[in-house]
C-alpha cells in the first residue's frame, strides 16, 4: 500500500492513547494518524482548491469549496468522495448539501469526485479521528490548510465505517451547502442593493419578497464564487428541512433496473483483451513453475504471464482466458503454511487463552475476585467469512504513451490510484483511476487488500493493448480478505440477587476489537482481554467489522446468564443497563413492538440481542424454529434502531433490512474453512448464502431518532442478527449453539 512519509502531526498537548487504533489507521492509508486533527469546515487549502477547480470547472461553471459546482444554467453538480456501493449514501449526501443550499432538487446531479489528492476527504478524516481517539476536542482549532494536507497525505477517499453521511455529510457537505448559500445571498444583496437579512432562498433562487424580485443561483454563481466562504455557517434547524429526513428516491436506481448501469466488470475499450488469474492457493506461497503450453493451445488465448505469486492468462475474451487458466497445472510453494487448518487455528486460540498472556486489556473493577471459584463459562467460535460481493473483482488498465489509466470500482479511488503509482513506478501525474459503480463490497474493496490493483498494473505495463483483469468466482472465494476466524471464552458470576458480579471476555483474533466495540451493560467488574493470533490468511473488515463476532459473543452469553439466573432475557438485560439510557429505550421498544412474552406456536422461540456499532444502537427480536431439514427457519424479525437521526428514511430502512439478512446469512450457513493452508470452498455452490426462501417473511423495522449524534446505518443492522437467532433457537429447542455457522446444530 501507499508508503507515504508519516508527517509529524501529533500536537504536543494531546494525551492520546495509541493502542488499538493501528488497524483503522492503517486502513485509511498506511499512515499513523493518531492525534492528527482535521478541521472546522472541511474546505481544502487554497492550492488543493485551485487544483480541484481546474479539474472540474467548465465554461459557465463555478466551483465552491471543491465539492460543489453551480452552472450559469442553474445546474448543480455535487462531487462525492464516496463510492455508492448501493447503500444510498450518495443520494443522502446530495440531500444534505442541497438542503443547506436550498437547491432545486430536480437540478441536482451527483458524480464521483476525481481520484486526485485535491479531492481528498477531509471531513471523513475528522470524523474517524474523533471516533478513534475519543477526544474530539483535540481536533478543533487546527488550521484547515494543515488538515487538508493531512487528508491528502493519507489518500483519504475511502468508503467504510458507516461514515459517509455522519462524517462527510455533517462535517463537510452540509457546511459547504450553507456557506455557499450565504455567499449567494451576499452577492444578491449587493446586486439588489438591499440588506442581506431581507433575502430568503428557495429552489435555487434568492428572493427579495418586499420588492418581488428574485435572482437565480446561476446568475449569482460567478460573482459568489469569488467570495471567501464562511468557515462556520449556521446550519438549518431540522424543522426547516425540506429534503433531509425525506424518503427521496435514490438517484442510482433507474440505471440498475434496465441494465444500463456500468460496473467495472462492464467496462470495455477497443482492442481490449481479458485476463484472469490464479494466485498461490496457499496464502504466502509463490509461483514455482508452470508449463504455459496447454493454455496457449486453446483458441483465443494470447499470452500467459507469470507473476511472483500468481499466473495470469490473457485471451480475446473471458472464456478463452479462463479455459486457458484451467488447462494449466501451475506449481506453487506453500510459504511454510501447509500445516494451517481451521482446527489448527482453533487449537492455537485455545492455547493462547489457556496461557493467559493478553495482548490488550480493558475494563474496570476487580474481575478476579468477582468471578470467584466457580464462574459460569462458555466458549464460542466463529469462522472466517467471505464478503461474497456479487460483482467479482474486475479492473481494466491501459498503459500507453507513458500514462496508465485504470477503470473499475474500489472503496477508495484515491488510494487505488496511489497503489498503481507505487507498483508502476510512474509519477502520480501519469496515473489516473476512473471510479465506476461497484457491485457490492462490504469491506472487500478497501485499500489494504487491493492486490488486484497491483496485478492489473503489472499486466498492463507489459501489454501493448488495454487489459481487463477479471477474478473468477473461484479466485474470489479462495483469495478473500476474510472476517477473521475468532474464538472467545466468556466467564461471569451472578450474585444471589441475579445480578452479574463480574464478567470477562477473553477473545482471540488478529487485532483488538476494543476501539470499535461497545459493551453497554453497567457491571461492578468487567474485563475484555484480547489475545492476538494471526494465520496465513488475509483478514480484514467485513460489514460491521468486529461488532459481528463481539456482538455474537456478548449477546449470546448475556442470554446464557439470564437463563442461569432464571430471568427473562429482556428483563435481565434491563437490570444491567443504565436507567433512561438510549440502550434501554431501544430494548424496551423492541420488546413492546415484538410482542415479547406473548404466546407463540409450538416449536417457535423468540430471541433478543442488542448491539451498538458505529454509534447506532440496534436491537432485534427474532422468531425462529428448526425446519424439517434441521436448518433454522426465521419467521419474523422485529428491529428497533436508534441512529440519532436519519437523512433518508426509506434508504436507511433498506440498509437495516439488508444488514439483518446478511447477519442471518452468516449465522446460518457461511464459513470459509482451511485445510493444508488453503481455502476449501470453491464457489457460491459451497459458500452458502441466504436465499429468498430462507429470509424472513416479516421484517418490522422502527427508527427511534433520539436526536443523539448521527450514527452509521450501513453496518449496524448486522451484529445483533446472529445472537438473536441463536437465542431464539435456544428458546425453541433448548439447544445452545455456540459455534457458527448454525447449520443443523439446533436440530432435535
Amino acid at each position: 500500500m501507499a508508503d507515504n512519509p508519516t508527517p509529524d502531526i501529533t500536537p504536543a498537548a494531546s494525551p492520546v492513547k495509541r493502542k488499538g487504533v493501528k488497524r483503522r489507521a492503517f486502513l485509511i492509508g498506511g499512515v499513523a494518524i493518531v492525534g492528527a486533527g482535521l478541521f472546522g469546515i472541511a474546505i481544502a487549502d487554497s492550492n488543493a482548491a485551485k487544483d480541484a477547480k481546474a479539474r472540474i470547472a467548465g465554461k459557465g461553471e463555478h466551483v465552491f469549496a471543491t465539492w460543489l459546482k453551480i452552472g450559469e444554467d442553474d445546474s448543480i453538480t455535487i462531487y462525492s468522495p464516496h463510492t455508492d456501493i448501493g447503500q444510498g449514501s450518495n443520494t443522502g449526501l446530495a440531500q444534505m448539501l442541497a438542503e443547506e443550499l436550498d437547491a432545486a432538487w430536480d437540478q441536482v446531479r451527483l458524480v464521483s469526485a476525481p481520484a486526485e489528492p485535491s479531492f481528498a476527504n477531509v471531513g471523513l478524516g475528522r470524523g474517524f479521528l474523533s471516533e478513534m481517539t475519543g477526544q474530539p476536542a483535540i481536533i478543533n482549532g487546527v488550521p484547515a490548510s494543515f488538515l487538508s494536507f493531512i487528508a491528502r497525505q493519507m489518500n483519504l477517499q475511502i468508503t467504510g465505517g458507516s461514515s459517509a453521511l455522519r462524517f462527510t455529510g455533517q462535517q463537510t457537505f452540509q457546511k459547504v451547502g450553507a456557506a455557499t448559500r450565504l455567499a449567494l445571498i451576499e452577492t444578491a444583496a449587493k446586486r439588489l442593493n438591499v440588506p442581506a437579512a431581507e433575502l430568503t432562498t428557495q429552489d435555487s433562487k434568492v428572493i427579495h419578497a418586499k420588492s418581488s424580485r428574485t435572482l437565480r443561483y446561476g446568475e449569482l454563481a460567478a460573482e459568489a464564487a469569488t467570495l471567501s466562504l464562511d468557515n462556520a455557517p449556521k446550519l438549518k434547524d431540522p424543522e426547516q428541512y425540506r429534503l433531509m429526513r425525506q424518503s427521496i428516491a435514490r438517484l442510482d436506481i433507474p440505471a440498475k433496473v434496465d441494465g444500463t448501469a456500468q460496473y467495472g466488470m462492464d467496462f470495455a475499450l477497443p482492442d481490449m483483451r481479458v485476463a484472469t488469474i490464479m494466485a498461490a492457493p496457499v496464502r504466502g506461497g509463490k509461483l514455482t513453475s508452470v508449463d504455459t503450453a496447454p493454455a496457449l493451445a486453446i483458441k483465443g488465448v494470447e499470452k500467459v504471464i507469470k507473476l511472483d505469486d500468481a499466473v495470469a492468462v490473457i485471451g480475446k475474451g473471458y472464456w478463452p482466458a479462463i479455459s486457458g487458466l484451467r488447462a494449466l497445472s501451475p506449481s506453487f510453494s506453500d510459504g511454510g503454511n501447509a500445516g494451517v487448518s481451521t482446527a489448527s487455528i482453533f487449537t492455537a486460540h485455545d492455547a493462547l487463552i489457556a496461557k493467559g498472556a493478553a495482548d490488550n486489556e480493558a475494563g474496570a473493577g476487580d474481575v478476579k475476585a468477582g468471578l470467584g471459584a466457580k464462574p459460569i463459562e462458555a466458549k464460542y467460535q466463529v469462522p472466517f467469512l467471505h464478503h461474497a460481493m456479487m460483482e467479482p473483482f474486475a479492473l481494466t488498465a491501459h498503459f500507453k504513451d507513458g500514462k496508465l489509466n485504470i477503470w473499475g470500482g474500489m472503496q477508495d479511488p484515491l488510494a487505488t490510484k496511489m497503489a498503481a503509482v507505487e507498483v508502476s513506478g510512474l509519477d502520480a501525474d501519469n496515473v489516473t483511476f476512473h471510479p465506476m459503480i461497484i457491485g457490492g463490497s462490504f469491506g472487500r474493496r478497501l485499500p489494504m487488500y487491493m492486490e488486484i490493483v497491483g496485478q492489473v498494473t503489472k499486466l498492463a505495463m507489459q501489454l501493448p493493448y488495454p487489459v481487463k483483469l477479471i477474478w473468477s468466482r473461484e479466485e474470489e472465494v479462495a483469495q478473500g480478505a476474510y472476517r477473521p476466524q475468532s474464538s472467545a471464552v466468556l466467564t461471569a458470576s451472578l450474585t444471589d440477587k441475579k445480578r452479574i458480579a463480574a464478567y470477562q471476555n477473553n477473545y482471540v483474533q488478529p487485532e483488538s476489537a476494543e476501539d470499535e466495540t461497545v459493551f453497554p451493560y453497567v457491571l461492578p467488574a468487567v474485563s475484555r482481554r484480547h489475545f492476538a493470533h494471526v494465520s496465513n490468511q488475509n483478514t480484514g473488515a467485513w460489514r460491521s467489522v468486529n461488532s459481528t463476532q463481539q456482538g455474537f459473543y456478548n449477546e449470546s452469553f448475556m442470554d446464557e446468564l439470564a437463563h442461569a439466573a432464571g430471568e427473562d432475557p429482556v428483563a435481565f438485560r434491563r437490570n444491567h443497563l443504565k436507567a433512561g439510557s438510549r440502550h434501554m429505550r431501544v430494548l424496551d421498544e423492541v420488546a413492546t413492538r415484538s410482542g415479547w412474552g406473548t404466546p407463540l406456536p409450538a416449536g417457535r422461540g423468540r430471541g433478543v440481542a442488542l448491539v451498538e456499532s458505529f454509534k447506532t444502537i440496534v436491537a432485534h427480536v427474532i422468531e425462529a424454529s428448526v425446519g424439517e431439514d434441521g436448518m433454522p427457519m426465521v419467521h419474523k424479525v422485529t428491529t428497533v434502531v436508534d441512529a440519532g437521526s436519519i437523512v433518508n428514511p426509506d434508504a436507511a430502512q433498506a440498509q437495516i433490512e439488508g444488514g439483518t439478512i446478511m447477519g442471518l446469512s452468516s449465522a446460518i450457513g457461511e464459513a470459509i474453512t482451511l485445510d493444508k493452508g488453503a481455502v476449501q470452498q470453491s464457489n457460491l455452490s459451497d459458500y452458502l448464502l441466504l436465499k429468498m426462501a430462507q429470509s424472513p417473511l416479516v421484517q418490522d423495522i422502527y427508527f427511534l431518532n433520539s436526536g443523539a449524534d448521527m450514527g452509521g446505518i450501513g453496518e449496524p443492522g448486522v451484529p445483533p442478527a446472529a445472537p438473536a437467532l441463536a437465542n431464539a433457537l435456544f428458546a425453541a429447542t433448548g439447544k445452545r449453539v455456540r459455534n457458527l455457522p448454525i447449520m443443523t446444530q439446533a436440530k432435535g
Binding site: 475474451g317 456479487m390 433490512e657 439483518t660 439478512i661 446469512s665 464457489n683 417473511l697
Partner: protein
Amino acid sequence: MAIQTSINGKTVALSAEPDTPLLWVIREELGLTGTKFGCGVAACGACTVHVNGEPTRSCSVPISDVAGKSITTIEGLKSADGTLHAVQQAWIAAQVPQCGYCQSGQIMAAVALIEKTGRPSDAQIDAAMTNICRCGTYPRIRKAIHAATGQAAKAAEGAV
C-alpha cells in the same frame, strides 16, 4: 460455422466457439452488459436471461445449445417506445436495488415467474426466486413482485 439465434428480437450470427457460454457471447460479442457474471457455475443467477421464455442461467449454457432459439436479456424487456416493463417499474417504486449487480437477473427471473403463474404466492416466489442477492434485497423483491401483479395489499402486509 456461425450459430444463428435471436436476441431481443434481432437475428444474430455468433462467431464464438460453440462451447462458449451464452453469457460471454451476450456480454463480450454483443456488448449487452446488463446480464452479469457472478459465479460461472449457475449458483447465483446474476446471468439469468430468457431462452424461449424460460429463465436460464446463461453462464452455464453453451451457445451450441441455443441455435435457433429466442433469447431475451434485460435490455430487451422495455417496450419499443422505451417504456419500462411493469416489473422494472415496480422495482423502482419499491426501491429494490442496492448495489444492483444481481438485479438484472432477479428481474428476468421475476418476469418469467409472473408470466408463468400470473399472481405468484409467497411459496411460489420462494420456490422460483433462487437468485442470490448479497445486499439482502429479498423483502423488497417480494414486495415488488406482489405490487407488479396487483397484490399491493399483500405487499403492504408482507415483508416491508
